[in-house]
């Protein structure tokens, strides 16, 4: 039980083929958002700006790794009857820590993300991975599984937010750099130009449509994902 990630299973190397799949599968074949359709709420809500999506992704990455590793370490100690409550407490504590740290070090972004940091607690991806994976696997693979799923979540968030911010605000924002407007100001209609930002992109429906398009592209490339009915 005292093993940590470095001293993970001796028989099987941490980066065996099976374990590598833990990292790569969630990026495509079993992507938490586009295939399992989990964690959609936050994916729609905080993808207006890239900056918010980056911070959100990092927060989820932290909670996901922390939660998976802690639950995996405790997996033989957790009483079955209260396992969901234990998972919830672990996730909630990690989320509160993230929230407090953001308030202290990134107050502006913390304000913009508002309730959505707190809502990481209810992000189905995290509870899902804790219940389905960490509870039955050693810390090493759980750690990889956490990274895989968090990145699978993150890349969708980043992709959606880049599309929405570029077309919706005509700008791109990165943490610490602010919003960079890359289109010349005179192109905009308000300045007598020809270009207008698409306001629909800023609104929530467009997040859903963007995710839908990503799912479409993904399924046309990877036919095995298409359900038979």
């Amino acid at each position: 039980m005292s093993t940590d990630t470095a001293a993970a299973p001796k028989k099987e190397s941490l980066f065996s083929k099976k374990n590598r799949r833990l990292l790569s599968d969630p990026l495509d074949d079993s992507n938490p958002i586009t295939v399992q359709v989990l964690g959609i709420c936050s994916a729609l809500a905080i993808t207006v700006q890239l900056q918010q999506a980056v911070i959100m992704s990092l927060s989820v990455l932290f909670v996901m790794i922390g939660g998976n590793v802690i639950v995996s370490l405790l997996r033989n100690l957790i009483p079955d009857r209260i396992r969901i409550i234990v998972q919830l407490v672990v996730v909630a504590s990690l989320v509160i820590i993230v929230d407090q740290v953001l308030k202290a070090f990134q107050p502006d972004i913390s304000e913009k993300l508002s309730v959505f940091v707190g809502l990481i607690i209810t992000n189905c991806i995290i509870m899902g991975r804790l219940e389905a994976f960490a509870l039955g696997n050693k810390p090493g693979p759980s750690f990889l599984d956490a990274i895989g799923n968090a990145i699978g979540y993150a890349w969708i968030l980043l992709a959606v937010s880049i599309v929405r911010e570029v077309f919706g605000s005509g700008a791109i924002s990165l943490p610490g750099m602010g919003q960079v407007k890359f289109l010349p100001a005179e192109w905009f209609m308000s300045e007598g130009g020809f270009y207008e930002n698409n306001n629909l992109m800023i609104l929530p429906p467009m997040a859903l449509i963007t995710v839908g398009i990503i799912i479409w592209i993904q399924r046309s490339r990877n036919q095995s994902l298409i359900e038979e009915n």
Binding site: L77, I78, P79, D80, R81, I82, I85, V86, V89, S93, I96, I97, Q100, V101, K103, A104, F105, P107, D108, L203
Partner: protein, 265 residues
């Protein structure tokens, strides 16, 4: 020794240990970050106050600019009496400092329910709040050789609290600028009160000390005069909240301004 993981005793013990460990670690995190968070909140407050007089501050220069522009901080009571005036640098730890008055907390704790109970009856509201020892902060600023008065306002929108700062010119009847913010108003509707297109409309408007309402936020699209601005269409209740908080709060400050003018004569 084999322990039965599913026995009640074990489950109970596990929960107790878990709660103690989690509680301790969260308390520790919260305490160790509190100072930074408070400093951030103070910076934000300074930025908002400076925003009301049209100074664009950010977190790095808020303290400095605040010290430059805000020349005096006054605390007054409900009846408009001056309790304290200070010009010393802001001390966030000093409870008496007008800067530290938490008007949002006061609103939550007592004003909100009193406003609801009074239902527009001003005398009843005064009576209900007279025992609460409320303090109201006023920030006197100097900008381009002119005195400006920044007044914090707090009220209720549709879903939750709304707040803001209103800056008055030296004559105390002309609005120099205003900014508003909210916690949970509907995006695209009530939430628009924080946007500049709405706050810009307040600039140059007058307060009507002879009428029942000092200032009105009209229902979307209604004609406006120099004592009113057009509210937000689809954000009627939020607009009404802005109207209510401005009137209720500015009346307190008017009593102070009047007593001050009398004293000068």
């Amino acid at each position: 020794m084999a322990i039965d993981k599913n026995s009640t005793g074990y489950t109970f013990l596990f929960s107790v240990i878990m709660v103690v460990v989690v509680g301790t670690s969260l308390a520790y995190t919260s305490l160790s970050l509190k100072e930074r968070q408070d400093a951030n909140a103070a910076d934000k407050k300074m930025m908002d106050i400076l925003g009301a007089i049209g100074i664009d501050a950010n977190r790095t220069n808020a303290n400095e600019l605040f010290a430059d522009y805000v020349v005096e901080r006054v605390a007054i009571d409900m009846s408009g009496r001056e309790l304290l005036a200070t010009a010393t640098p802001v001390d966030p730890k000093d409870k008496a400092d007008p800067f530290g008055i938490d008007v949002k907390k006061d609103y939550r704790a007592s004003v909100k329910s009193a406003v609801k109970a009074a239902d527009g009856d001003e005398a009843a509201l005064m009576a209900a709040l007279s025992e609460d020892d409320l303090r109201f902060p006023l920030f006197r600023c100097e900008k381009d050789g002119e005195s400006l008065y920044v007044i914090p306002v707090v009220g209720s929108g549709l879903w939750g609290p709304i707040w803001g700062y209103v800056a008055l010119e030296e004559d105390k009847t002309t609005i120099y600028g205003a900014n508003f913010d909210h916690k949970t108003e509907t995006p695209g509707l009530g939430a628009e009160i924080k946007e500049s297109f709405f706050t810009e409309k307040f600039k140059g408007k007058k307060l009507n000390s002879n009428a029942v309402a000092l200032f009105t936020v009209t229902k979307g699209g209604a004609p406006t005069d120099q004592y009113s601005v057009d509210g937000i269409t689809g954000g009627t209740i939020t607009s009404k909240g802005v109207d209510e908080m401005i009137n209720r709060t500015l009346k307190v400050y008017y009593r102070y301004f009047e007593s001050e003018t009398r004293a000068q004569r």
